[in-house]
């Protein structure tokens, strides 16, 4: 999942012909002032921090400015801020518009329907989750034959648009749909979509790109702003890695088994801190890498819970033994292993030879690791 900052989302919108306010991205107060002075950004304008978190306006990450010096001041005040954990590195400056109404439009996936869904609401400009169901209109869109004209008409009716703005919507929705498909998006959201004069303008842009389609979108490879450094390393090695607050490291294979392991640990008072899903691998090197990564996260104890399918127990055991040799003494941690499934006997034997006991029972092994981490929280 690649969440794009507003300005990147708007670059995509521009590519598909979705109307935007006049504006540009700047990275320094000087650049901001110059952009305002040159007229490239009409005044008065809005100065918006390019961070992924919501609630920017309330959080002081959006300001208004009437003159080039005011733009500079606003830019200086926002740039470098730490906003909900994100450092503000870019600002989007946009001319203020005479907004008649603020609407909501998005396209995302409805998993149950197995169809994309067009969501519209008259109540734009607020988080859509706060809008009551009755004020939200949903229309599934079949990829074949695509967004139909009658669906666009229905959307216009739901937004109570007519005349120019309705016509604008009829052009905007196919563009949004094309962007959703062609960019392999999980979400394309315009909130608010403003009625300005006889037309529509996308005041904000939220675009989330699907990771799995990365092979056809090399252009998104560099945009990974919302990961911790360890998560980023894990991603490069294709290991699913999530950092939480606890002190027990969990290495498992498969999302379901990983989650079930967390459930059991919690039950016995454990507090999982990092979990790391090996997925389906039978490369011992990947197992070693996962362990070394885990060591860097400095857990108090580590629980290895593997059920061998594609991943074979002996492979995991070999990778583990190899990793234990490479972990610096300072980073060592108590380890409880449980390896079951394909080639279990061989795996258990390899571990035993290296002095590690595999505890076959899930409950017992979970209790053991909780104890090793210092007992129930």
């Amino acid at each position: 999942m690649v969440k794009l900052a507003e300005w990147r989302g708007k670059e995509i919108f521009r590519k598909y012909g979705i109307p935007l306010p006049p504006g540009r991205v700047v990275r320094s107060p000087e650049e901001a002032e110059a952009a305002a002075r040159s007229g490239e950004v009409p005044l008065p304008c809005v100065v918006k921090a390019q961070v992924l978190a919501g609630g920017r306006a309330k959080g002081g990450a959006v300001r208004f400015a009437n003159t080039p010096p005011e733009v500079r001041t606003a830019a200086a005040a926002i740039l470098g801020l730490e906003f909900k954990g994100e450092k503000v590195r870019e600002l989007l400056l946009e001319g203020k518009l005479a907004i008649a109404r603020e609407l909501y439009v998005s396209i995302t996936l409805d998993r149950s329907l197995r169809l994309p869904i067009l969501i519209t609401s008259e109540q734009g400009g607020v988080e859509i989750e706060s809008v009551p169901d009755a004020a939200i209109d949903r229309q599934p869109i079949d990829p074949f034959p695509g967004l139909a004209a009658y669906e666009r008409r229905a959307a216009a009716r739901s937004l109570r648009l007519s005349g120019g703005p309705a016509k604008a919507l009829d052009g905007l929705l196919p563009a949004l749909w094309r962007a959703f498909q062609a960019e392999d998006a999980e979400l394309v959201e315009i909130n608010p979509l403003a009625v300005v004069g006889d037309g529509l303008v996308a005041l904000d842009a939220k675009v989330i790109i699907e990771d799995d389609a990365a092979f056809r979108h090399p252009e998104y490879a560099e945009i990974r702003d919302d990961r911790t450094p360890l998560e980023e390393i894990a991603r490069e090695k294709e290991i699913a890695f999530v950092q939480l607050d606890g002190n027990i490291g969990v290495i498992a294979n498969g999302a379901g088994l990983t989650m079930a392991t967390l459930d059991v640990l919690k039950e016995f008072g454990g507090n999982p801190g990092v979990f790391l899903d090996l997925g389906g691998t039978d490369d011992p090197k990947k197992v070693t890498e996962a362990f070394l990564l885990m060591a860097q996260a400095k857990p108090k104890a580590v629980f290895l819970n593997i059920f061998g399918g594609v991943t074979r127990c002996d492979t995991v055991a070999r990778g583990l033994v190899d990793a234990m040799r490479q972990v610096p003494d300072a980073d060592r941690f108590p380890l409880v292993a449980r390896i079951r499934g394909n080639n279990e006997k061989e795996g258990v034997e390899i571990l035993r030879a290296a002095g590690i006991t595999s505890v076959p029972d899930l409950k017992a092994s979970a209790q053991a690791v909780v104890a090793a981490a210092g007992g129930p929280a």
């Binding site: 999942m1 969440k3 919501g54 998005s106 995302t108 996936l109 998993r111 149950s112 197995r114 169809l115 994309p116 869904i117 969501i119 988080e127 859509i128 989750e129 809008v131 939200i136 079949d142 990829p143 074949f144 392999d184 999980e186 979400l187 959201e189 939220k206 989330i208 699907e210 799995d212 389609a213 092979f215 056809r216 939480l244 294979n253 498969g254 999302a255 379901g256 088994l257 989650m259 079930a260 967390l262 459930d263 059991v264 640990l265 919690k266 039950e267 999982p272 997925g279 593997i306 059920f307 399918g309 594609v310 991943t311 079951r340 499934g341 394909n342 279990e344 029972d361 899930l362 409950k363």
Partner: protein
């Protein structure tokens, strides 16, 4: 056929010459499955694990009367492989491949559906009926023929649970690993009717996960249409709330999609709910011992 596969199932393996394709061809054969053909473009005339390889699925079907497929080809080519399978008239296909873009899968799902091909997966362990056939990658060691059906969105957790059932002295009728991707070919709701009709299934184990509303949908279906006893487990009760799909996704699943809503829905539908995987076999055994009242 009991649930989708049986001794008449004849599997063509797409991507048979790749590492996973080869390994699992061997495993499927060891399970007793008739693996009749492999497909890898340009490799026609060769053999893998004693199975003849063809250039196209159509050729494979023409020569071997394959009636099920197992797809191992890499994600960028999975859509094409599926289209080829559907066009060759194969009614059942397991897609093991992971990381298929959901936009591709939308096309695959709706096309397959319009042509009468059932997809299991993608990113899934597939389907296995011990003593009959396996189309997928669930490890052979966890099985033993019996009368417990299993449907699951998970991979290894499924193996864990199926293995637990075996170690408890019970056996399985059919086990389906549906896969946990955003768009799956077969959901719980799609799979339940097969188990309802299956004379060889007495009890059903349903293994869900947080995220999406497939379990809530399943609960609704069970309530009205499923007469056999169900033991359910939902993984991820203690997992941090997922951020997937952001706000717009949240309004689609509004008030559903958490472990709590799923468990409540299943309980209300009459399912017995296990709190941990290792509780499942015991609960199943109790039901079996008690006859089969719900």
């Amino acid at each position: 056929m009991t649930v989708l596969v049986d001794a008449e199932t004849r599997v063509v393996v797409q991507g048979i010459t790749g590492h996973q394709g080869t390994v699992h061809t061997r495993q499927m054969k060891a399970f007793g499955t008739q693996v009749v053909a492999g497909v890898t473009p340009g490799k026609a005339g060769t053999e893998v694990e004693g199975v003849p390889v063809f250039d196209s699925v159509r050729d494979a079907v023409g020569r071997t009367r394959a009636n099920a497929a197992c797809i191992f080809v890499p994600a960028p080519y999975a859509k094409d492989a599926l289209l080829e399978t559907v066009d060759a008239g194969i009614p059942l296909v397991t897609i093991v491949t992971e990381h298929i873009p959901f936009h591709d899968m939308l096309v695959m799902y709706h096309y397959a559906r319009s042509r009468g091909t059932r997809i299991i997966g993608p990113n899934c362990p597939g389907i296995a009926a011990p003593g009959k056939a396996k189309v997928g990658i669930i490890p052979n060691v966890v099985f033993r023929p019996g009368r417990v059906g299993v449907i699951s969105r998970s991979g290894t957790l499924t193996y864990e649970i199926v293995n637990g059932i075996k170690e408890h002295g019970l056996g399985q009728s059919t086990c389906i690993g549906l896969g946990g991707d955003p768009v799956v070919g077969t959901s719980f709701v799609d799979a339940l009717p097969f188990f309802e009709k299956d004379p060889e299934t007495d009890v059903l184990v349903l293994v869900g996960e947080i995220g999406g509303t497939a379990e809530e949908d399943a609960a609704e279906y069970i309530h009205g249409h499923f007469s056999k006893p169900v033991v359910a487990y939902i993984a991820g009760r203690s997992a941090p709330p997922g951020k997937r799909m952001g706000h717009a996704g949240a309004i689609i699943t509004r008030g559903r999609g958490t472990a709590e809503t799923k468990l409540a829905a299943l309980q209300k539908a009459g399912a017995r709910v296990a709190r941990f995987p290792y509780e499942i076999p015991g609960m199943v055994a109790e039901i079996v011992a008690a006859g089969s009242p719900r």
